[in-house]
């Protein structure tokens, strides 16, 4: 049994047909051609498929696709502003916060959810925010550093705009 749904994907209205019991990750990757969220464990354990639904982080592999009908989905593909990378992406690049890169999309979205809520997080808050994201290269220290660096850069830009 299929169901027609509409959602806002990275700022664009899209229509899709979800198969009965299909998960959001499969809908994004297989039907909407957005392969930026990664399929890791399909158990909600690794966090590689983390996306935002109405601004909140979810593991797309465990979300029923049709449950996002009428909602706003943001993936890492929607993070950059045209050719301009998001400060998180820049900080990850500058700080070599990716080794194999498979966990990076999920890390970026988990970090985005944190910075949207808490623009000046502590190191502990960053560690807690990516607690559900596994990096099997074990490069956690540069990842945490990069998120803190992105927060600093974003605060600097806001300061310049306001000043």
């Amino acid at each position: 049994m299929t169901r027609a749904i509409r959602l806002e994907l990275n700022g664009t209205e899209v229509a899709a047909v979800a198969e009965g019991g299909e998960n959001l990750l499969s809908l994004l990757r297989g039907r909407l051609g957005d392969t930026s969220p990664k399929a890791g464990c399909l158990q909600g354990t690794c966090g590689a498929c983390t996306v935002l639904v109405d601004g909140e982080p979810v593991v797309a592999c465990l979300m029923l696709a049709e449950a996002v009908d009428g909602r706003r989905v943001t993936t890492v593909r929607g993070l950059a502003d045209g050719p301009r990378l998001h400060p998180l992406q820049e900080a990850f690049m500058d700080g070599f916060a990716a080794q194999c890169g498979f966990c990076t999309p999920g890390m970026l979205m988990a970090a985005k959810a944190l910075l949207d809520r808490e623009p000046q997080p502590t190191r502990e808050q960053v560690i807690e925010a990516i607690a559900g994201n596994v990096c099997r290269c074990t490069g956690y220290t540069p990842i945490v550093d990069a998120i803190l660096e992105a927060a600093r850069r974003m605060a600097g830009r806001r300061g310049r705009v306001e000043g």
Partner: protein, 272 residues
Amino acid sequence: MPLEVRTTSTLSEAASLLQAERTARFLAGGTLLMRAVNEGDVSFSTIVRTTDPAFGRMRAAGGRIELGAGVTMAQILASRELAFLHPVARAVGGPAVRTMATVGGNLFAAHPYGDFATALLALDARLQLASGFGVREMALEEFLQARERGPRQLVTAVSFERPSDPTAFRFRKMTRTHPKGAAVVTIAALVPASGGRVSAARVALGAMAAQPIRARAIERALEGRPLTAEGVAAAVAAAAREGDPPTDALASAWYRRRVVGVVLRRLLLGEV
């Protein structure tokens, strides 16, 4: 094989569907059921879900707290009135799982999961259950004992008394990975003290049996004792005799029996 998804606007409709169709399963947050779908579980062919606003409603202001079964761990973490439950909600998954995982779903989480259920057991929670015939109440402890073979009913809400002294409620989860991991042992305790002595303690253990259990020997050993190293010694000794701990990839039954008393002592004495 594609599944049939039935979305109902009311909880009672959902309960009727579940009762009528033996191959139907209820979807709340999805962290358990969608995992089963992904793993190719063919024991069900229909998913029932609901958009009933009552399912996600919280009444947290008064002395009697009521949580709709669809309330998520993230909702609990966002409630200042439920600050005493924040360590419990934070013990469940990472942030992306907490956005989805529900209070009701946690009651069905198989070993080694079910940390929130363990806390609710220490709080003497009662459940509201809906079936095709109406609504009834049941103690969580009774529900957990019959979880695997119970009748097909839908948990719609849980309720419990707010601890009059928030420091009387204690929670600790021992994991092998930090800050997130599945439980080696989880302990939730309500240890109200009058005149420096524990009175009417309720202690619940997670990951020490197939489902969260009340630890009555620990409770008896605490009665009338002060929360000092000497006062808790009998309870700590009793801990090793509680439950029937499973052996799994995280810990052996032997290890769980050895360590549960250590975790209990640290919890009761407030040690790191």
